[in-house]
C-alpha cells in the first residue's frame, strides 16, 4: 500500500511541480523535510528516554499489568490476539490516555513502547499484525478532548469564543476513531490484506485466500 502512495506522492509532486514552474521549491522542500525528519527524531531522544525509563519502573512494579487488567473488557474485543495481561495493553492504554488529553510528548513514547511489545507477539516481523493496525487506527483517529493548539490560535486571532469548537471537535474525532477502528477491523478480513497463515479468519469465513 505505502509503495503506491509513496510513489504517487513523489511522482505527482515532480510532474505538477514542473507544470507549475515550482521545481526549485520542490527540490528545496525535499532537502528541508529530510532535515526536519532528523530534527524530529533527535528531538524525541530525551523525551523517549524519560518515558521509557518511567515505563520500565511501572512495569517492574507490576503497575502496567494492573492497568491492563482494568481495561480487559475492552481490550479483549479490540485486541483478541493479545493476552489480556500483556505489557502491550498497558502501554497502549497509557498512549491513548495521553493522546486524549493532548499530551503528545508522552503519547509517542508510550505508543512506540506499545508497538515494540506488539512486535514481540508478531509472527511476521516485517508485516503489520492485526493488533498493530487496530492500535494505529485508535491513534490516527484519536479522540481530542481539548484541541489546545487551535484554541491558542483562535485566542490570538481575537475570537469571541475560542473554545466553542471543543464540542464539535470531540464529536468529529470520536466519529473518526469509531470509523477508523471499525474500518480497520473489517479490512483485515479482505483477501488483499490477509496474513499469509491467517487460519483464524479463513476458517471463520469458510473460504480460502
Amino acid at each position: 500500500m505505502l509503495n503506491y502512495i509513496w510513489l504517487g506522492m513523489m511522482a505527482i509532486a515532480v510532474v505538477v511541480g514542473a507544470i507549475n514552474g515550482k521545481l526549485p521549491e520542490v527540490t528545496k522542500a525535499a532537502f528541508d523535510y529530510a532535515k526536519t525528519s532528523v530534527d524530529i527524531a533527535l528531538g524525541l531522544i530525551g523525551i523517549m528516554a524519560l518515558w521509557l525509563g518511567i515505563m520500565k519502573i511501572a512495569d517492574e512494579a507490576g503497575l502496567v499489568r494492573i492497568l491492563a487488567r482494568l481495561i480487559r473488557p475492552i481490550s479483549k474485543r479490540l485486541f483478541p490476539d493479545i493476552p489480556s495481561e500483556h505489557p502491550a495493553i498497558g502501554a497502549m492504554v497509557l498512549n491513548i490516555a495521553a493522546n486524549w488529553l493532548g499530551l503528545s510528548n508522552a503519547a509517542t513514547p508510550f505508543g512506540l513502547k506499545a508497538m515494540e511489545e506488539l512486535q514481540k507477539l508478531n509472527k511476521h516481523k516485517d508485516t503489520a499484525s492485526n493488533a498493530m493496525a487496530t492500535f494505529l487506527a485508535l491513534n490516527t483517529g484519536s479522540i481530542t478532548l481539548i484541541p489546545a493548539t487551535i484554541i491558542g490560535v483562535r485566542v490570538s486571532l481575537n475570537s469571541s469564543n475560542p473554545a466553542e469548537i471543543i464540542g464539535t471537535t470531540i464529536f468529529a474525532s470520536t466519529c473518526a476513531t469509531i470509523f477508523a477502528v471499525t474500518g480497520t477491523k473489517l479490512l483485515q478480513r479482505l483477501p488483499a490484506f490477509r496474513l499469509p497463515d491467517d487460519t483464524e479468519s479463513t476458517t471463520k469465513d469458510g473460504e480460502d485466500a
Binding site: 522542500a29 488529553l101 481539548i146 487551535i150 486571532l157 481575537n158
Partner: protein
C-alpha cells in the same frame, strides 16, 4: 457546561504528567523496585528507538513536503470541488481537509490563514478549527510507529486510517453545519 468540562480536562492535562512522575516511582519503591537502576535501564532504549525511525520519517516527510511545494493540493481542490459543493463543504476549507492526514503543521498553517482571512468566528473559521482536531496525521503516525519496529508491509493500516480521516472530515462538516451554520 462547556466551560466546566474545559476546566476539568485542563486540570487533568496539567496534573497528569507530574502525578505520573510522582506516583509511579513512589509506588514502585514501596513494592521494592530499585527505581533508579531500573529507570536507567529503560531509558537506554530511547536513543535506539529515535534513531530507528529516521529513514521512515525521511521517506514520508520528504514526499509530503514535495507534494505541498508542487502546488498539487490546489489541483486536487479544483478536481474535488464539484463533489464538495454537493455536500456543502466550502471550497476554501477543502485544502485544510486534504492536508489533515498528511501534515499537522500544514493543516494548522492553512487553518490559521483561513481564520485570518474569514475571521475565527466565521463558519469557515470554526469548520477548519474542527478539522484540525478531528484526526491525527495518519501518514506521520504510520511512519513513526511502524518505523520504530521495522514493519514495512503495513497491510490495511493506511486505508483504515484514511477511512477514519474521511469520517472525521464528514462528521466535522455535519456537526458544524448543525451548530454553527
Amino acid at each position: 457546561m462547556l466551560v466546566i468540562f474545559e476546566k476539568i480536562v485542563t486540570i487533568i492535562s496539567v496534573w497528569a504528567i507530574p502525578v505520573l512522575l510522582f506516583v509511579i516511582p513512589v509506588l514502585a519503591f514501596i513494592r521494592k523496585v530499585k527505581v533508579y537502576e531500573v529507570f536507567i535501564d529503560g531509558a537506554k532504549e530511547g536513543f535506539e528507538v529515535a534513531v530507528k525511525i529516521i529513514p521512515y520519517l525521511v521517506a514520508i516527510l520528504v514526499a509530503i513536503g514535495m507534494l505541498r511545494a508542487s502546488g498539487a493540493i490546489d489541483i486536487f481542490v479544483k478536481l474535488l470541488s464539484p463533489l464538495t459543493n454537493l455536500i456543502g463543504l466550502p471550497a476554501e476549507a477543502l485544502p485544510a481537509a486534504l492536508m489533515r492526514p498528511l501534515s499537522g503543521s500544514g493543516t494548522l498553517g492553512i487553518a490559521t490563514e483561513l481564520m485570518v482571512a474569514h475571521g475565527p468566528d466565521s463558519f469557515i473559521g470554526k469548520l477548519v478549527s474542527t478539522f484540525y482536531g478531528s484526526t491525527e496525521t495518519t501518514f506521520y503516525v504510520v511512519a513513526v510507529y511502524f518505523g520504530a519496529v521495522g514493519v514495512r508491509k503495513t497491510r490495511h493500516a493506511v486505508p483504515g486510517g484514511l477511512i477514519g480521516d474521511l469520517a472525521g472530515l464528514l462528521a466535522a462538516l455535519f456537526i458544524c453545519r448543525l451548530m454553527f451554520a
